[in-house]
Each structure stands twice: as structure tokens, then as C-alpha cells.
């Protein structure tokens, strides 16, 4: 996907001015935040499970080389074909080669964020292959020619009314407003595609090393059909998705679905181990798994490594006051919210996403809700440090910081300067004791007054008191 993260401020401003988006994001917050909180209460030993999940993910990251080879061995033993891709382009080429070899004309797709990273749909369409997204949210944004704005609810930026308009226009059927009816209509439109597709593409929530299984967590049944109906199934997964054992998957799932949607378990869990075996009633003739680096080994070797623990639940963005205000598109790439503010610069380059690690209040709501305890604010701060080290911050900001630090390290000068500021501020505040225009603080003064200081610093008052 094209990276537009450098336009964060402009896109955020547009998002703030969009009342439909505000409504849609309000719904998201109400549903996801309370749902998560309620469902996690069911787990008596929540903290133990979180600690175990974190350890299982850390173990996998520490033994990636070994576990991935074990995965390959076990997957191949069941008849799957494993491919390795270093870049997103290689992923696209591999998928196209497999498609060409099998004379594929139509592909159905279950949701894959890695596919968004590589721009897989566009690549395949440019090669003349029809690609159909089948996850309802992905289907909506494909029809609307948009990109996902959330990692598990890709069309969350759209209200039901907007989707009703879109369906009426695309399906050429009477407009429906009931969400159940709209879903049935989408299902009716999609069903023939499921039955005529030659290939199914899925992502993978996890790869299980001990069994060679690729698994996905879904709610709509489209994933199950994508993995079983077409003659060829291709799963694409980042190298970090591996887990050592099925048991690891089992307890991480207890956290994943609850953290994501507040469900104790998703409607479907699909475990795929090899293609159709002798005696199986269904399943693809060929099953390919493409294991992808695309920047992940670089992150693994960096101090941002903890971000690779992510199990893609989306809780960090659901709880983020910035995401709740501007939605996902402002972030300008595949992963929005706090995890996106870390992964985007890590994958596409620090200088291609300068605003992202800074566009956070560091309230640590994300760090608190993350089921695998990724210290997201700390990682954003590390990225801010890298920006300073590489001289990527604008000069007025650097100068201000330097002057401030110079003064703060010299108590006499600092006392004099703050004493002056307290007096000037008192005077500027007038009788209402509010400063309407803060010199050098236009972004503040556009929306807020500044309560004026009271005329003397604490330091001065304390000296008088003694």
C-alpha cells in the first residue's frame, strides 16, 4: 500500500471535520471498549494468562529460526507447499506465479493485513485476475474503493446509512437499512463468487510450529469457505506469526477475541493443516503458505522488538483517544492507532512517518489494554529519540527544547525567566485571568485560552513565606 503517513496532520484535520466519521467512531468506542471490559471479567486469572501469552510470544520471537523451520517441516509433511518471501514484491510475484500455474481467473480473499502491506489486490488485478474480498467489511471498502481504517473492523469509518447507499448503488437493488438485511444481501451477491473462484487467499492469525498448521480467527464464515471451496488455497503470513504449540494458540485465543470484540470466542476458528487428504470430503488440491519478512527481521533486531508480539486484536486503537478522534485513515498506511504509530515507521522508514510516534498523548491506555503487554508509549518514545538523533525534528522545535533545557539546568537564570513570565502572564491575562493568544502557541490558542499565572512563582512566594 502507498504510504501517506507524512500527510497525517492534513488527513487528521479532514477527519475531525467529518461528522459521519465522528458518529461511526463513537459507535466503535461504545461497542468495543465496553465489550472488551465486560468479557475480560470472565477470566479469573487474567493477569496470569496475559503473562503466559507474552512469554509464549517472546519465546516464539526468540526462536523464530528454529520454529519456522519446524513449521515448514511439519506443513510439508502434510502436503502443504511453503515459500519464503523477503519483500512484499516477492509475495505478490509468488502469488501470481501460483495463480498462473493453476490457470486462476478468479480469487476470493479472506481478510489479510499483510496483503494490504504488499498491495496484493492491485497487483493481481493488474495481471488480469479478478479478486473478491469476502469479509463483509473488506467487501464494503473494496466496493467503495477505500482502504481499511481498522485492523479487525476495516469499514468501521462508515455508518450503516452510508453502507446502505453504497449497496443500493452497487447492487442495484432496493435500498435496505436493516443491518441484518444488508448482510444477507451482501451474502447473496458474494455466494456465486465463492462457488466459481479458482483460488482462495487468506492471511494467518498464527502459524503453529508443532503441527504445521496455519489458522485464522473469523466471524463470518467467509474464511472457512475461502480455505475449503477453491482448488488452490494460499495463506500469507509474517514470520512473527509463528507459535510453538497448539496450546499456546489456545490460551492466546482466550485473550485475542475478548480484547478484540469482547467475544469469549469468535464464530469460526479455522485450522488448516495441509491440502485435501485422501478421504477428505472437501479442501483445496493445493495449499501454499508464503512466509514473509518484509521488514520484520529488522524490527526483531531493534529496540522495537516488543511490537512483534502483537496479536492484532485492535484493542490499542479502540482505546486510543487519538484514534477515537481521527480514525484510521489519517495514519496513512496499513496499521493505524498506537501499534501503527510504531509499526509504520519501523516498516516504511522513520522519515516516512514523522508525525505518527508524536501524535500520541502517551496516556498509556494502549499499554494497559494490550493483551501481550507491548509497552507502546515506550516504543513511541524510542522512535521520538531516533528522530532527534537523526536530526529529523524541525529546527524551531529543536531550538526551543535546547533553550528550555539550557535554562532548566541553570536555576538562577530559570528563576529570573519564570519570574518574568509569571508577571507578564498575569498582566496579559487581564481581569478574566485568561490569555487568549499565546505567543508561539498558535495551535493551543486556536482552541483554548491559557489560564494566566497569578503573578509570582511558587519559588518567590516560598521565599517570602520564610
Amino acid at each position: 500500500m502507498q504510504v501517506t503517513s507524512q500527510q497525517f496532520k492534513r488527513k487528521a484535520a479532514e477527519a475531525l471535520a467529518n461528522p459521519q466519521l465522528r458518529k461511526a467512531l463513537g459507535n466503535l468506542r461504545a461497542r468495543m471498549v465496553s465489550g472488551r471490559a465486560r468479557s475480560l471479567l470472565e477470566l479469573e486469572n487474567l493477569e496470569q494468562i496475559r503473562e503466559a501469552a507474552k512469554s509464549a510470544r517472546d519465546f516464539a520471537l526468540a526462536h523464530l529460526d528454529h520454529l519456522l523451520e519446524r513449521f515448514e517441516l511439519n506443513a510439508c509433511a502434510r502436503g502443504a507447499q511453503v515459500h519464503w518471501a523477503e519483500t512484499g514484491d516477492e509475495v505478490n510475484q509468488l502469488v501470481l506465479e501460483i495463480a498462473r500455474r493453476n490457470a486462476v481467473r478468479k480469487i476470493i480473499k479472506s481478510k489479510s493485513m499483510l496483503g494490504e502491506e504488499t498491495g496484493l489486490n492491485h497487483y493481481l488485478e493488474a495481471a488480469g485476475i479478478e479478486v473478491r474480498e469476502t469479509d463483509l467489511g473488506e467487501y464494503i471498502i473494496q466496493e467503495a474503493r477505500e482502504t481499511p481504517s481498522h485492523i479487525i473492523a476495516p469499514a468501521v469509518h462508515r455508518t450503516a446509512e452510508e453502507v446502505a447507499d453504497l449497496f443500493q448503488q452497487k447492487h442495484k437493488l432496493p435500498r435496505k437499512t436493516d443491518i441484518g438485511e444488508m448482510t444477507r444481501e451482501a451474502r447473496m451477491v458474494l455466494r456465486p463468487h465463492f462457488l466459481t473462484a479458482d483460488m482462495g487467499i487468506t492471511g494467518a492469525n498464527f502459524l503453529v510450529a508443532e503441527t504445521g498448521t496455519s489458522m485464522i480467527v473469523t466471524n463470518e464464515g467467509n474464511g472457512r469457505m475461502t480455505t475449503t471451496l477453491p482448488r488452490v488455497h494460499v495463506a500469507i503470513a509474517g514470520i512473527e506469526k509463528v507459535l510453538a504449540t497448539l496450546e499456546d494458540v489456545a490460551f492466546i485465543l482466550r485473550l485475542l477475541t475478548r480484547s478484540a470484540t469482547g467475544q469469549p470466542i469468535s464464530n469460526y476458528l479455522t485450522f488448516t493443516t495441509g491440502p485435501k487428504q485422501a478421504g477428505d470430503k472437501d479442501g483445496p488440491d493445493e495449499f501454499h503458505i508464503i512466509i514473509v519478512d518484509a521488514g520484520r527481521t529488522r524490527v526483531l533486531a531493534s529496540d522495537l522488538r516488543a511490537a512483534l508480539r502483537c496479536i492484532r486484536c485492535g484493542a490499542c486503537m479502540n482505546h486510543c483517544p487519538v484514534y477515537q478522534s481521527v480514525g484510521g485513515h489519517a495514519y496513512g498506511w496499513v496499521y493505524p492507532g498506537p501499534i501503527g504509530a510504531v509499526l509504520t515507521p519501523a516498516y516504511v522508514g522513520l522519515d516516512n512517518a514523522l508525525d505518527l510516534p508524536n501524535a500520541a498523548t502517551l496516556c498509556n491506555q494502549c499499554g494497559v489494554v494490550c493483551p501481550v503487554k507491548i509497552p507502546l508509549p515506550d516504543l513511541m518514545r524510542k522512535l521520538r529519540e531516533q528522530q532527534v538523533e537523526r536530526g529529523l525534528r524541525p529546527w524551531p522545535e529543536r531550538l526551543t527544547l535546547k533553550l528550555w533545557a539550557w535554562a532548566a539546568l541553570r536555576p538562577a537564570a530559570y528563576a529570573w525567566i519564570t519570574g518574568m513570565l509569571a508577571r507578564i502572564g498575569r498582566w496579559a491575562g487581564g481581569s478574566k485571568r485568561l490569555i487568549h493568544k499565546l505567543p508561539g502557541g498558535a495551535a493551543w490558542s486556536r482552541h483554548r485560552d491559557m489560564p494566566a499565572p497569578s503573578g509570582k512563582t511558587f519559588r518567590e512566594l516560598y521565599r517570602h513565606r520564610r
Partner: protein, 245 residues
Amino acid sequence: MRVGLFVTCLVDLMRPSVGLSALKLLENAGCEVVVPTTQTCCGQPAYNSGDRRSAQALARKVLREFSDCDCVVVPSGSCGGMIKIHYLELLEESPELRPKLQHLVENVWELSDFLVNVLAVQRVPGQFHGTVTYHDCCSGLRELGVKSQPRELLAKIPGLTLKEMANPEQCCGFGGTFAVKFGDISARITDEKCADIVATGADAVVLADVGCMLSIEGRLRRGGDANTKVLHFAEILAGVTNDPS
């Protein structure tokens, strides 16, 4: 007990009444309070802006200034969290500071936490007649576990009724330099907070960090609300007002 008061840079410049209140509350409880006059800032603005070197220099300065105190008390969860949670990582390249640093980190307290859990304060001098609502400031809440302490203290004031807002733990949108770098987004977040506050019909919103106070009060006033008071819990407890000097 020799208690060092770390005033914080925002209290010093913007709201000295909070520092005076903290001083009064600690002295009333029988503490010997020392206020190093060379203190300036904990270094958090530099730390969060990625200027690690300046942050380290300021952290070393705080460490020097408070090295002879049994405890250090801070009327801010944000600066308290900076010292208690982040100094160890920030100064990890200076192992020679480790013993002193360990002592500081183990003995630094957010004010309400100290009043409740160390001093077990039973009576407070302040008075307030009316309804207040309490905003949980992010760092105090999520880094230091400050949640029940200020509420327990406010409950000791006769005539004060606490009415909780819908989302007291939601960030107010300040975020230090965030409010200046991303003013539009910051203001939207503060709007949600202000709406929650106003919906309670409280006479005052009470909180524990001057940063959040500036953000919330500034937005309330710009929005035309001249009545809802924005108070630090220490001001209410000590009965000290923020009048011009």
C-alpha cells in the same frame, strides 16, 4: 521524617497555590518539609520529545537536589511517574548513580498517595460546599495506581459531594507538547472530557495535574463556561485558593 517537596515546573510558574497547598498539608501532618530552591523540572518534556541527553541532565539534577530526603513528594502524577517509573531506564547508562537512584525511586510519592498511604491523614483543613467531579490524570492512574486516594481525601471534607463523570479515566488530551503540536486533535479529546464534566452538573472538576488543569480550564473557558471551577485536589484539601498575588 524529612520530606522533600518537588514542586514541578508547571506548579511553580502556572499554579503556585498547588505548591503552597501541598506544603501546608504536609506540615499540618507533622512532616519536616524541605523545598530545594534550585529545583526546576523533572525532565519529562525533553524525555517525551526524544531529547534524551537533556532529560538525563535534569534527572541527575533532581537526584542531587533530593539526595538527603527520606521521601520526595510530588503534587503531580505525571512528574511523579516520570521519576518513579522512567528514571531507572533513563539513567541506566550511569551505574554509579544506581544506589542513590534506587533510594529516590523507592521513596518518591504522588501527593495524595503519600497523604493516604504513608501519613494516613485523618483531617484536612479545607472546606467546600457543593458537588465536584474527579478526573483521573493518566500518569498518576496508570503509572502510580492513584485512583481511590484523592477520592478518600475529598470524602473527608464536609459538604463536598463527589459525582463521578461517565469516563473519568479517559485522557484529557493534554499530553504535554502534544497539545501544541496537534492542537486540533488535542482539542477534540478535551471536548469529550469537558462534555463529561459538564454533564455531571458539578460546581468543580478536581484533578491532580496542572497540565490537565490548563487543558481543561482553557477549553471550558473558550467554550464560554465561566462557572465550572477547575481545581487541584490539594487546593481544596488545604483551603488555599489561586488568587493573584
